[in-house]
């Protein structure tokens, strides 16, 4: 007798049913939706509308694929600031496949994914975490004996929306960094014909991911995206523009070391390499761990982890406006000095050569000139007065 195929972790049902099952009151749910709307900078009235839409909404199937990653993004997601809210998020969606979280393993897990994809074809949300390696025939990252690129290509076909969680799936991240030994790629390089939303960050802020997901589930629309396909509501401003240390930047007050008086007084970390001016994320506003803090508030400059190629943009501790030498922006003073010396030598040589030619021309003109006092004795060659 053959074993029945395992079912997804949650049967799709309406959100309202799930809320009643879990004893969550409508009041608490509206409060949650209002908080989410506020987080996404939506008008306050939209909170109730969101609650109404969500209450009757069918829980969308979500397939969460993890490829070449460190599970930090998922860790961030699971550490969302309010456990009850986190439970709600898991119940609002039907998380049908997630190899980190699901109890099933091996062929049972793979069958669950196939079932979810088949039953929700064209309607499920595909969440991808990690870059996709294509080197060694895709052998650097496999699941169930299949290469990550093949799994992604198959799963993307029936996806209504793809959400890339973290910088690795959004932009390639650390695996994509030079010299990219596994030939890793971001999801957008593998899948070109499905709508993609990037929620970048290393890791991304949990509320940015859940907020993006919530907005899509409730409105059915992809939020406005920036040029890197990130929701503008979270990635519309630089961290520098929203940073509480920004006034010190304007006043010209900068910490010189991580433990000096300026650092303790909350002065700007620009000179210590903060990449806040070129980094777009909600760290300075949404913050982490329920709004407790964010890296700059903890005393360390921004690394720019939500930006493409952040790992290859030079030292984390190099000032943003400093010159960047070398292939990967790393300081190579000896090479620079060598090039500078060569340029200086070339300049001196050309300058000396031109003056020698000028002198020769002067001597030639003097030899060819008529005797002194005659016509044509006015010097026409370059000389210093």
């Amino acid at each position: 007798m053959s074993r029945p195929a395992p079912r997804p972790m949650h049967e799709p049902s309406s959100v309202g049913q799930m809320l009643r099952q879990h004893g969550i009151s409508r009041r608490a749910f509206v409060k949650y939706c209002t908080a989410t709307a506020s987080l996404m900078a939506l008008p306050p009235g939209l909170g109730a509308a969101m609650a109404q839409a969500l209450h009757g909404a069918r829980r969308p199937s979500v397939i969460y694929l993890s490829f070449q990653e460190c599970t930090g993004c998922f860790e961030s997601f699971t550490c969302s600031f309010a456990p009850t809210i986190e439970n709600l998020i898991f119940d609002v969606i039907s998380l049908d496949y997630d190899d980190t979280l699901m109890a099933a393993a091996g062929s049972a897990a793979e069958t669950a994914m196939q079932t979810a994809m088949r039953e929700n074809f064209g309607k499920y949300i595909l969440v991808v975490d990690g870059s996709v390696p294509t080197g060694a025939g895709g052998g650097y990252c496999t699941a169930g004996g299949r290469a990550a690129a093949d799994i992604l290509t198959e799963a993307a076909k029936g996806a209504e929306l793809i959400i890339c969680v973290g910088t690795c799936s959004s932009f390639g991240g650390i695996p994509y960094a030079d010299p990219n030994p596994t030939h890793a790629w971001p999801v957008s390089a593998i899948v070109g014909d499905r709508p993609i939303v990037n929620v970048s960050g290393c890791p991304p802020i949990a509320e940015v991911f859940t907020g993006t997901l919530m907005q899509y589930v409730t409105t059915g629309r992809i939020p406005d995206l920036d040029e890197h396909l990130r929701p503008k509501v979270f990635y519309g401003n630089t961290i520098h523009d929203r940073c509480y240390r920004r006034p010190f930047y304007d006043e010209g007050k900068f910490a010189k070391t991580f433990d000096d008086e300026g650092a303790r007084s909350g002065w700007c970390l620009y000179e210590l390499g903060c990449k806040g001016p070129t980094t777009y994320n909600a760290c300075a506003t949404v913050k982490w761990n329920g709004g407790v803090s964010f890296p700059i508030e903890s005393g360390h400059g921004c690394l720019g982890c939500s930006e493409p190629g952040f790992w290859d943009k030079g030292s984390f501790y190099g000032t943003l406006s400093a010159a960047a030498w070398g292939k990967a922006g790393e300081a190579e003073p000896l090479h620079v000095l060598g090039y500078g010396a060569a340029a200086a030598a070339a300049g001196v040589a050309v300058g000396a050569g031109s003056s020698v030619l000028a002198r020769q021309r002067l001597a030639h003109d003097a030899a060819a000139a008529p005797p002194a006092g005659g016509p044509g004795t006015h010097p026409t060659t370059p000389e210093k007065d």
């Binding site: 040029e227 630089t238 520098h240 523009d241 930047y249 304007d250 006043e251 010209g252 900068f254 620009y270 000179e271 001016p277 070129t278 777009y280 493409p308 190629g309 290859d312 943009k313 190099g318 000032t319 943003l320 406006s321 400093a322 010159a323 960047a324 030498w325 070398g326 922006g329 300081a331 620079v336 090039y339 500078g340 060569a342 340029a343 200086a344 070339a346 300049g347 001196v348 050309v350 300058g351 000396a352 031109s354 003056s355 020698v356 000028a358 002198r359 002067l362 010097p379 370059p382 000389e383 210093k384 007065d385």
Partner: protein
């Protein structure tokens, strides 16, 4: 490699190399020119003429009393935007950090708001200088492509810098890249145009003063 990485990396490296080679070419080429032979008895010793030459760098840097009514306004404009440029370039902390990465040492800067105000003032004076150049018949006749192109290159650095600090018109990293690229363009143009006066002006005044003292003429 994105635009900012290109501007800060290869473009800046090439610009600095061209600047370095070009400036040395111009300075060495000038320094090794033959000094014209003296055809009359020297009126001052070498030491005295050298001192007169150094003094000339000061006296010629201030308008002569007889001409101050005619040239004072122009000189005031010139000094104003030069001082503004020096302050903006040398006392803005991100600039200090950039120069520090080249020189190996840094110095205190001014608050960003002060620098922004100075930049706006300097750019305004710079516009006034251009207006004077195109409206004054003599200056217009004396001006050539070099004057106008040098103005454009310098002004573009000021304008892009202001746009960058104000986040005006594009994303910050794009504006910063354009600003650095404008600096790269200025560095490349510098040795080949009249911007080279930054290196020539004081040595030429000193040499003129010394030669005139040697001939017994007032500088």
């Amino acid at each position: 490699m994105d635009l900012l990485a290109f501007a800060r990396g290869p473009a800046l490296t090439i610009a600095l190399l061209v600047f370095c080679a070009g400036v040395l070419w111009r300075i060495v080429g000038f320094a090794l020119l033959r000094i014209r032979a003296e055809r009359s008895r020297a009126r001052a010793s070498f030491a005295k003429s050298a001192i007169e030459g150094l003094l000339a760098t000061l006296t010629r840097s201030w308008p002569h009393r007889e001409f101050i009514a005619r040239t004072g306004a122009g000189e005031a404009l010139g000094y104003s935007y030069h001082l503004g440029l020096f302050a903006v370039v040398l006392l803005y902390v991100p600039h200090i950090e950039f120069l520090g990465s080249l020189l190996g040492f840094t110095w205190p800067g001014l608050p960003s708001t002060v620098i922004t105000a100075l930049s706006v003032l300097t750019a305004t004076i710079f516009l006034g200088v251009l207006f004077r150049r195109v409206t004054n018949p003599v200056m217009r006749m004396l001006s050539n492509f070099d004057d106008y192109f040098s103005w454009v290159v310098t002004m573009s650095v000021l304008v892009t810098g202001l746009a960058t600090s104000a986040h005006f018109g594009a994303r910050y990293e794009t504006l910063l890249a354009i600003h650095i690229l404008s600096v790269d363009a200025l560095l490349i143009w510098f040795p080949f145009g009249k911007l080279m006066h930054a290196f020539y002006i004081f040595p030429s005044r000193a040499i003129n003063g010394a030669v005139l003292a040697r001939k017994g003429a007032a500088s």
